[in-house]
Amino acid sequence: MLLVVPFRAWPAYLLCAFPAQMLIAWRTSAPTLAMALLFITNATDAALGAFLVRKVSGGTGPFRFDGLRSVVVFALLGATLAPVLLSFADAGISVATGWAASYRVAFVTRVRSNILTHLIAVPALIDLLALDRQHIRAARVVEAAVLTALLVVTCAIAFAGSTGSEAFPALLYTPLPLLLWAAVRFGPGGTGWSVLLVATVASWNALEGRGPFTSRSPVDDVVSLQLFLLATSVPLLFLSAVIQERNRATVALQMKEAALRNSYARARELAGKLIAAQELERARIARDMHDDFNQQLAALSIAISGLRRRQFRDDAELHEMLNGLQERTVALTEQVRRFSYDLHPGMLDHAGLASALRTHCTEFAEQRQLQLSFTAGDNLGPIPRDVAICVYRIVQEGLRNVVDHAEVPAASVSLARSLDGLELTIADQGRGFDPAAALDRGGLGLLSMEERVRLTGGTLTITSAPGAGTMLHVRIPLAPASRAAGPVERV
């Protein structure tokens, strides 16, 4: 118990054990004073063992049998060192109260029975306490029931048989396969329960005067039964721990493998989407160039040939036509400029992030009839180029999302420098959506925003719910002016 409950609950648990100890004293007619004193040593034994095991195994939570190390620590400290130390006191008490005659005999008896009790009972109890009641599979219950039933039957036969029969030495080994089954399949806890069951049946038969442990004097029989159980339980306990460890390693490996497969599949899916998106983008650029620039250039070309073959009344008429042509050329130049700016905002390189964003917001608001407010902190400091382009793209995508999905005529963009990073917020009071569901659907817009932010080591959070507006917040870490390596721009 003390292995799994918090340290401060120990006194309560120890006090609870006192009446039980006195009950045993009353039932077995052992000297009451001896029993009361023995309670103190037993309690100290339990407390010392539990304390040592928990300190050495290092965990702050309840102790668990989870591998070879935990079993070794328990067997050496909890089940051997503490009982041996306290058995010195036990034996002294027994002799002093006149319950036992020889100190040496009393000591050896106490050591044997204490070690055995610890080794068998504690793993079984810990197993019971650590049992995850919500996640027991029916197949495990059936397996445990079959094992228990077979073990009871086998033990009943093995330990009730006559020592005179020819099969006797072999009979003693018949529970072993079942104990191995327990060790392989049910860990240290299951092994504890099985050995406990064997011990119970064997002791009961011995008390009833049947079986192998009834050959000599009662004292000798107890000793040989104890040695038999010790010899059985210790190797099994270690074996079960080793197997448990291997099982755990296998499960961990399988989980890692599954996670790896999963992320590989995601990466492939993303790559596919990126290729498709790149193709779409190229198609859009080609269409824009064909529909806008080429057609306008063709129209200009046609108009110029028209001019060539025409007779003009006077220079004024010619000038008027030339002015018209020039205006169209200027308009076309402006379109080409805007187009190339969309592909890569050159202003980012020359004027800095805040200015480029302000220009973009102004143009976007004008084109898409959106009331847009833009605020930028006064002193943003130097911003690396990759961070600047990331923030710029996220504002572009975020504002497109506002227009396409939020169904609201207003939005706000704000950029600020915190102590250790850059903070971008895009907010609207529009329709809102469920961000988790949107990410599951795998929209490339959100996904590429996430990926961009991830590449700069930042975080992107979207706070939104249907009907509750949307707030997109990006935080990109920037060391205070120390991230000056590489291309740096001034804002």
Binding site: H290, D291, L297, A298, A299, S301, I302, A303, G306
Partner: protein, 139 residues
């Protein structure tokens, strides 16, 4: 009567306007449409002698409109006027029943010549087509 009756199909208003100015002294422009279906409908209704059509147009494209016109028995001469200087596309247009193939940028110089030639029963294909690449043998 100022020249042949011409129907113009181009979805780019600015080009259509330039062409209108170019053609107004040489042809009788009976209509300007901006997509494939309207082109077919207008050709059936207005019975032009010459159709000048862009290839890329909304609805269905100029080549499809040409095929439909031929299937409907419309015998107007058709000049494809396009951005594409691909010989493959030009030969496809001719196979579909076009008499002319002119690149838009050269329309100022070539379109009137093309109109003249097809009116006389000839075929006009712009000399500006990309050099034909050697045929890749089918494997």
């Amino acid at each position: 009567m100022a020249g042949p009756r011409v129907l113009l199909a181009d979805d780019h208003a600015i080009v259509a306007e330039g062409l209108r100015l170019l053609l107004k002294d040489h042809c009788e422009l009976v209509g300007i449409v901006a997509d494939g279906p309207s082109l077919v409908a207008a050709a059936l209704e207005l019975r032009p002698e010459i159709v000048i059509a862009d290839i890329s147009m909304p609805g269905y494209d100029g080549l499809e409109a040409l095929r439909r016109l031929r299937a409907l028995g419309v015998e107007a001469k058709v000049i494809m006027l396009t951005m594409y200087s691909d010989p493959q596309l030009a030969s496809e247009a001719l196979a579909a029943g076009a008499q002319g193939y002119v690149i838009k940028h050269a329309a100022g110089e070539e379109l009137l010549k093309a109109i003249h030639d097809v009116s006389c029963g000839l075929t006009y294909v712009t000399p500006l087509l990309n050099k034909k690449k050697p045929d890749i043998p089918n494997s």
